[in-house]
């Protein structure tokens, strides 16, 4: 429903049914569903090299398994129809056949051959994806997963942000794959944006790597795919793929320290004099906590709470008052601030563009 609102500005039930049908068609045929704006993170609409490789492999696997299924189904239906007892001659027993070495050998060897084909295809795709090393000029990002949000650090660019990963598009003329180092601050999580790549677990004390190479600008959604506690469901992940120009200007903006606006000094002082600073960093405002998300450019993000709510004044207010009303179980406590202070802090946060 929301997808329709976002994509085509209408919410009719028929549109929903037809989009469901399109999704089904895409799922069954493996065909991409066209260019219509679509937030469904379908593995059949890959826009990035690893996801595309997997998609191709999956079509082969679907073909083989579908053929096997049809054979078994046909034989079984034949047997059911042909050899069902029709109530005649109840005492008579059919001829007893104890087995047949030749037939059984056939249905041992054929599956072995199929397995060999599947294995070779598997090994090939696995090599393509897993053995790829970062080329010169690749963008490097370190992903740190927390209960229940994502921290993104761009070590070469000096940028730290949260929950919304910005990467440039990679084209044939300007290939720019993104290599991600995955680290966890607490328990096991899993990084999964289906249209960009398969998932890779994010394990404490066991850094992993993965890579994406998005070929179309857009917003690609995913979420944590390994159960990680109370708000596993609320650990959403947005990847914003931008043209190189937009990406550069985003980086420029992110590198700047926080805006200092004298009009919201009350809020800033409150932020700095309460427990907020223990967890959050705001560069240039003397807040350097490293437990929660970096808020230096909070307002450049479309969502809060790792994607669970839109980033607008109303949601910011309820979040600052008591985040558990939006995200029950969240690690950030309700700070018991009076309404006046909540207002002042949100006034301040709203300036952090």
């Amino acid at each position: 429903m929301l997808r329709d609102t976002a994509g085509r500005g209408r919410t009719s039930g028929r549109a929903r049914v037809s989009s469901a049908a399109a999704v089904l068609l895409a799922a069954v045929s493996g065909a991409a569903a066209g260019d219509a704006p679509n937030r469904t993170p379908s593995i059949f609409e890959p826009v990035s090299t690893p996801a595309t490789e997997i998609h191709h492999l999956s079509l082969l696997v679907f073909g083989i398994t579908a053929a096997i299924f049809v054979v078994v189904l046909a034989v079984l239906v034949h047997v059911i129809v042909r050899y069902r007892w029709r109530g005649d001659d109840p005492g008579r027993e059919p001829p007893q056949i104890y087995g047949s070495g030749r037939v059984e050998l056939a249905w041992t060897i054929v599956p072995i051959l199929i397995v060999i084909v599947l294995f070779l295809a598997t090994a090939r795709t696995m090599g393509t994806i897993q053995k790829n090393r970062a080329p010169e000029g690749a963008l490097r990002v370190t992903v740190v997963a927390h209960q229940w949000w994502w921290e993104f650090r761009y070590p070469d660019l000096g940028v730290v942000t949260a929950n919304e990963l910005h990467v440039p598009v990679s084209t044939k003329d300007r290939p720019r794959p993104v290599f991600l180092t995955l680290e966890s601050a607490d328990v096991i999580h899993s990084f999964w944006v289906p249209r960009l790549a398969g998932k890779t677990d994010v394990i404490p004390n066991h850094p992993n790597t993965t890579w994406i190479e998005p070929e179309k600008p857009g917003l690609y959604v995913g979420q944590c795919a390994e159960f990680c506690g109370t708000q596993h469901a609320g650990m959403l992940l947005n990847v914003v793929v931008e043209t190189p120009e937009t990406f550069s200007s985003w980086i420029e903006a992110q590198r700047r320290p926080a805006v200092v606006d004298p009009a919201v000094e009350t809020g800033r002082d409150l932020f700095r004099s309460t427990a907020c600073v223990n967890c959050h960093e705001i560069r240039g405002a003397g807040a350097s906590g490293d437990v929660g998300p970096d808020l230096t450019h909070l307002m450049s993000r479309a969502t809060i709470g790792s994607g669970v709510a839109p980033n607008d004044r109303a949601h910011l207010e309820s979040w600052v008052r008591d985040p558990a009303t939006i995200k029950p179980g969240v690690r950030m406590p309700a700070m018991q601030l009076p309404d006046r202070d909540v207002d002042a802090i949100v006034d301040y946060l709203e300036t952090l563009r």
Partner: protein, 557 residues
Amino acid sequence: MSEIDSAAVLPAPGPAPLGARLHEWVVTVDHKRLGLMYVGAGLFFFFVAGIEAALIRWQLAVPNNHLISPDAYNRLFTMHGTTMIFLVGMPILLGIANYLVPLMIGARDLAFPRLNAFGFWVFLFGGVLLYFSYVAGEGLYGAGSAPDVGWFAYAPLTGAAFSRGNGTDYWIVALLVSGLGSIATAVNLVTTTLTMRCEGMTLGRMPLFVWMMLVVSFLILVAVPPLTAAQVMLLFDRRLGAHFFDAAAGGSAVLWQHLFWFFGHPEVYILMVPGFAWASEIIPVFSRKVIFGYPMMVAATVSIGFISLGVWAHHMFAVGMGTTLNSLFAASSMLIAVPTGIKVFNWIATMWGGRIRFATPMLFCTAFLLQFTVAGLTGIMLAVAPFDWQLTDSYFVVAHFHYVLIGGLLFTLFAAIYYWFPKATGKLLDERLGRWHFWLFVIGFNLTFAPMHVSGMLGMPRRIYTYPADRGWEPWNMAASIGAAVQAVAILIWVWNVIRTFRRGKPAGNDPWNAWTLEWATTSPPPAYNFEVLPTVRSRRPLWDLKHPEDPDWKYE
């Protein structure tokens, strides 16, 4: 003979007082009574875990649902999975083996009857302990109620830092205790099968059911102790300050996964091979044909047993193991499809050329063949490691293993219950209600789990208590929830069928299905000593030989 015996057992003529009869069940060491108690307890937990599943489907029917809080939901799926595996699957398969193995091999009881009783009571204690966490977890030091860490309880989420309170400790101790029971019963089944077969029953003449339960028992002996060890290590981490799995102190979170799945994957076969075992007895009888390729079936079962010990890390393709290990485990996981495929083909070949009677047990077995094929094929997809990177931990996996455990195991379990119920109670379940049960359950099951393949491929991860409305997952989840309701109706019809049959079921006679294995040679229900005279057999189908003296099996084997 039987009259004389019952007079010797009962203190007075007429039914004994209720207390005395209950007491008999509590102190019994009879394999049949223990088997029935295993199945009964397993079915009780089946209803509990079924209610948990219904709540899960209720919560997920629509996006952004706030019916159940996240913590309560996490407890629900943890308890649903743990219960279904350890308190439903394990006791029921051990219970049916308990009941049937001595009867099928012509023995009077298991080798160690008191160990058998110990195994049952320890399992039941473990089950009660697990559910006691719901009430007692809150009352002890720290917060917490039932465990909420998922049935595979990945470290370090289970560590003291992230799982406060006592829920995880209840999970550990309950499974540790019930695992002890499984090991005891497996020892018992192996010993019984190897030493107590009646005269003439060589290993090559054992019913396939007994062969398969022998393989299952060996698998239990190999697979359960590593889980027990890992759980003790986890308990040390949580309570004694050890750091086996505590990544923050240099422990290894991946080590837990290896230990758990070294148990966990053979466990899948421990649960599924009994389904094969039941089907291997039922399909021939209702096709009126001897099993096709008995030696191949035995060989396939044994090789499944062996290969299943070397596939565990296919649960861990996304862990970042490197190409070599990934390839190795992809290859072994694909390889296991070969013996499994042989079985499916041999069952169908058994039906080929037969005169198939589609009574309720055979209906369930037929649906099993097709649904299990689907499960096997999605299993191959999951073995294709790169494809698995997309599919693992998504609803596709949920669909896959429910096609194994419901489409495969539960369907064959219903077949087995309809088939052996008359032996255990002396009464036949109603066929008309059986058909209603079957068709509604086929529809409900497929309506619930087929759509999950799609929602998984559309990017829906498992174990989320709710989901946003903009991802195109709604229709698939709604369909699944409606399917769950249909399944519930089917189960209620079955319960009604059982209750009605107990009250006024048709008497079954000794051999209602015109079958061939030894359990049908004694009365229904069998006396405490099973057989007046221990039988002698000359072939795999002793009752066929008896019924067809002109064309006995032993001429061909």
